[in-house]
Subunit: 212 residues, 2 copies
DNA sequence: TATTACAGACCGACCAGTCGGTACGATGAA
DNA sequence: TTCATCGTACCGACTGGTCGGTCTGTAATA
């Protein structure tokens, strides 16, 4: 049993506790008690409670960017890229739901230097999505009436908010929810020109959405 | 000067500080110093720091529900109601941006009894929006392919997330952003049957969205 | 005189972080 | 092979300081 290195054990324990009670709702003592170690063990592995919080942030956002970038690289059209990025998020979500909660809930408590390191990556993620939207608009697959930056934030909001309500034991999987999001987002953006491709990627397009 | 009752002064000060540094980033001492009063003054007006947090929550969510309900009552069709609710949120947002930030950031730190009181009202808000979507689907103005409850959460996410990025001094007002959201949401939901009414409410529908 | 509204010294609990110490495997000289 | 040495990983009592909340006192008002 108990073969995992201590650092990993502390990270996992802290993550679980932060997720349940928030960063300030959990003391270092609680963490070390739960992880069956000691203050010494903790501070041997982390410079501070703050650094621990940072590491939780970083592992998630790094992974999220990586997956989104993979999705972007794998496909070549804006429509398919958009779908792939939305899909990639479901994978990230399945693995990192607790991280995400902590990420969006506790990031204000990161010290300044950590904060800005995280912000750089956060912007990177947003930028990638915004690029896809802009490319789609340029090609005429997406409507030009809506500004790309606001649309991007609308999509990010829709996705990110799931951490507040998604229930692993609920009736829908994250993947099914993402499919619905794809449906909504594509319908909100697509032009007549883009429809043929959208039909292939989202089921409800095949039932022609212009008739009820 | 300084004619406001102390309780109000404390509320406003605390709100501002919570907004900047988070509930746990601000001590009661800091609050009373900034509000130019004392611990005595504070605990004369509030039973605990916790109750103060609750009051900030309650004043916002109560107002938000009221405005959404008004919007609902004032209009009679799902499409116009949806637009009105989205519009109502901008007003709430202008007045209560700080409250909203605190609301979504710190609600986990409310004690259980306060927590559930707030949850009741939060559900009320969601339910109202979900009703509108369902009615729209029943009447054939909104597409039936997307489940009403998930669509509701998508919209709520889109709206609520604005508290993370909206900048009062930015290039767009909250009202302009809401107009874009209306555009996106209506395009994602509307059926051919609903279009004539949507045209009246959102500009970009008049440039027929089926041609580019 | 009684009550309300506030002041501010004070208290006990708790908390992040420190520090002197230990357990133990690796290394290397005899 | 044996034993001294050293470095790493970890332990847990302790500290300095902060925090939410209390309590006694007082000035103003009614």
């Amino acid at each position: 049993m108990k073969k995992k290195p201590l650092k990993e054990r502390i990270l996992e324990t802290a993550l679980r506790l932060f997720n349940e009670k928030g960063f300030h709702g959990v003391s270092v003592e609680q963490i070390v008690d739960t992880a069956q170690t000691s203050k010494g063990g903790f501070y041997h592995n982390f410079k501070s409670k703050d650094e621990l919080l940072y590491q939780i942030h970083d592992v998630f956002i790094t992974y999220a960017i990586e997956k989104a970038q993979e999705a972007y690289d794998e496909y070549k059209t804006p429509i398919s890229r958009l779908c792939a990025i939305l899909h990639s998020f479901t994978k990230v979500f399945d693995v990192y739901q607790s991280h995400i909660t902590v990420f969006y809930q506790e990031s204000i408590y990161l010290s300044n230097s950590f904060q800005s390191a995280i912000n750089v990556k956060r912007d990177q993620y947003r930028y990638l999505l915004e690029q896809v939207i802009q490319e789609g608009q340029k090609l005429g697959d997406f409507r030009k009436e809506v500004p790309a930056n606001i649309t991007t934030m609308a999509i990010i909001g829709m996705i990110n908010w799931t951490y507040k309500w998604f229930d692993q034991k609920g009736p829908l999987t994250m993947e099914e929810i993402a499919d619905i999001f794809k449906d909504l987002i594509l319908h909100s953006l697509i032009t007549e020109q883009g429809k043929p491709e959208a039909v292939k990627l989202v089921k409800s397009f095949s039932r022609n959405s212009t008739t009820r």
